[in-house]
Symmetry: C2
Subunit: 378 residues, 2 copies
């Protein structure tokens, strides 16, 4: 096998930072005023959202005096700008990418249906004009309100008509809402996604946060940074379990799920475990499925990873073909600045067909319209 | 490669059911009266423990009128009896096994240090006489009180002197206690385990339960049975993360962890993910470790699984050598009644050295004194 000098890859995971005045420009003042606003002070911020007010300490990791979002903005200005972004992608060797919104940490504090539905519509209109229309290589994901299934269905259908190919769902529903495995409630949304050929994209680390608690910071103390990062993967696995065991993927064979940033090798593991529970507890399992749970996972669920060194082995030897690479641009967990180094480490010893499948093919299953990256140079 | 007719395996996971009068026989009446007691009625039970009283609905899965423990007792009488158990093991092809206690669902409701310390001592004395002394093939795990680290240390040292080779720790600490990654608090326990050559055995599904809530039943509704079973694995992974990222395994290079019943293929996945967080968030990581997190996992952490079809591939191709088989005797998730069928499905196409490592070798790393199973017959 010959390894190209520059490896081109599609990315199943990247992020856009929205402009701070997005809602002021697009919503009536009465609604815009209720969207999340932050006033920053030394060491803390005051956030107001939907009539509530929170004080939040501003973490300054590493005592550099910079917040995490200062750091990300400075290292990757393309996070906010499609022209600069495409330059970065060309430089790094990334052809097409799925982009997720960055707003969200406060979205779970919005309790009003009207406000949430208007907010996601404004965000999706903006992303259509600013990201989707900038290049066919950029595939923004539609945000939806989960406060009511009818609102989610309507926004998925509206966005699909605008050209959206994927909808972003958080890994857990808002507080008080029915969890994803309550299929009788959520089935209209699964139907809308399937009928509009919209990929259901779960991004890990997006469980709603309780504003009065730790903002997803589950662990403090020794090892906290690694514990909190590693912990985020479980939410993507749980959402996947819910979609399979509830029968949602069984009832919607054309529905495809993408779990972004959750890693590469969890699929074989989770599949084996669900199969064990399904078979050994068979008498108590409702609903019965037309195939073992692992088969739904292998056929209808895709995953993106950045650095996992066992990704190639999992595809070659554990039979999970729906693993794709992702850059997580512009985040710290991602490969920005070392993408080619990472791709060569991952694939220089891999068979051509496995490299092709992980860098290009699995992504094309979901989004064939992005076409082919530039030809490899040897 | 030739496959033996009967495949013999050690088991990293089994369970003993304690007799109901264990505490009455071994503790002063004033303490015995405060240990968990259940009065069963039609469809519910009243449990008293340490001065508290709870009413609990008795789940009758599958509407057979039987509780889960009725079902288990009926299918495997060896659950309560070492002589019958050894007959079952011989029949199934299991040589040596690690056994976990079954008491526990109410143990997290005990708030008194004295009561908990006396209770685990009584349980360990009983298991020494009734299980350990019955056969060198049976390796009971010592229970410890986690209400205070000094009590845990004392019981580990007492049990090691009695011949115990492993201590059972639940996958999370009791409510109000410091989580496992607070190494400054727990370090004396890690030291005691390492110094006494006692394996730290986490059994999945053992998080303390809140008596007023769902008893570990996280999910209800469609898919609940499979969701709840699959979910249990995450606790074992989180405990492992805590032991690695806090530096406990770094400071105690001779300490070995066994994660029982958590499955086979999560190690490579979790290792890759911890490495990513450790490297990408490097500036914010405390403590720094002497090796990447995955290396501690691969070197000092062992896992047992029952049916996972990717176990062989994970060892052969993803480099995790510390995977061992386990029967989970006598539970429904286990292989009782179909052990040989399972072992042949797992290993008939595997290289001899991989079969040997998973069925015998990894277990012997931890417990070499159990010796060799009977010679294979071809």
């Amino acid at each position: 096998m010959a390894i190209p000098k520059k490896i081109w890859a599609n990315s199943g995971d990247s992020h856009f930072l929205e402009p701070p005045d997005l809602f002021d420009e697009r919503l009536p003042k009465a609604l815009a005023d209720r969207m999340p606003k932050s006033q920053k002070f030394d060491g803390y911020e005051i956030v107001t959202v939907d009539g509530q007010q929170f004080r939040r300490n501003m973490p300054k990791p590493g005592n550099t005096g910079e917040t995490m979002s200062d750091i990300v903005n400075k290292r990757a200005p393309g996070a906010n700008d499609p022209v600069l972004r495409l330059q970065d992608l060309d430089e790094e060797g990334i052809w097409a990418e799925v982009t997720f919104p960055s707003i969200g940490i406060w979205a779970s504090s919005i309790k009003s249906r009207e406000l949430m539905a208007s907010g996601v519509a404004a965000l999706n209109d903006w992303a259509k004009e600013y990201i989707m229309d900038a290049s066919p290589r950029l595939l923004p994901t539609a945000s939806v309100s989960l406060l009511d299934v009818d609102d989610a269905v309507a926004e998925v259908r509206r966005c699909a008509a605008m050209g959206y190919r994927a909808a972003f769902l958080p890994t857990a529903v808002p507080p008080g809402q029915k969890p994803y495995h309550y299929i009788d409630y959520w089935n209209p949304l699964w139907t809308a996604l399937e009928e509009t050929n919209t990929v259901l994209a779960f991004h890990i680390g997006t469980e709603p946060v309780d504003a009065d608690k730790g903002f997803g910071q589950v662990f403090r103390g020794p090892g906290g940074a690694v514990l909190n990062y590693t912990q985020t993967t479980f939410g993507g696995q749980i959402s996947t379990m819910q979609m399979i065991t509830s029968g949602a993927l069984d009832q919607h064979p054309d529905l495809r799920i993408l779990v972004s940033e959750g890693g590469a090798t969890w699929g074989p593991f989770l599949g084996d475990r669900m199969n064990e529970g399904y078979r050994q507890h068979g008498k108590y399992v409702r609903p019965q499925l037309s195939k073992p749970p692992k088969q739904f996972l292998y056929e209808q669920v895709y995953a993106s990873f950045q650095h996992d060194e066992t990704a190639v082995g999992a595809m070659q030897h554990l039979g999970w073909n729906n693993v794709m690479w992702g850059s997580d641009y512009p985040h710290l967990e991602g490969t920005y600045g070392h993408t080619q180094k990472t791709l060569h480490e991952l694939f220089d010893d891999a068979p051509d067909d496995v490299r092709r499948r992980i860098t290009v093919g699995a992504f094309q299953d979901l989004f064939p319209e992005v076409g082919e990256p530039p030809a490899d140079e040897y």
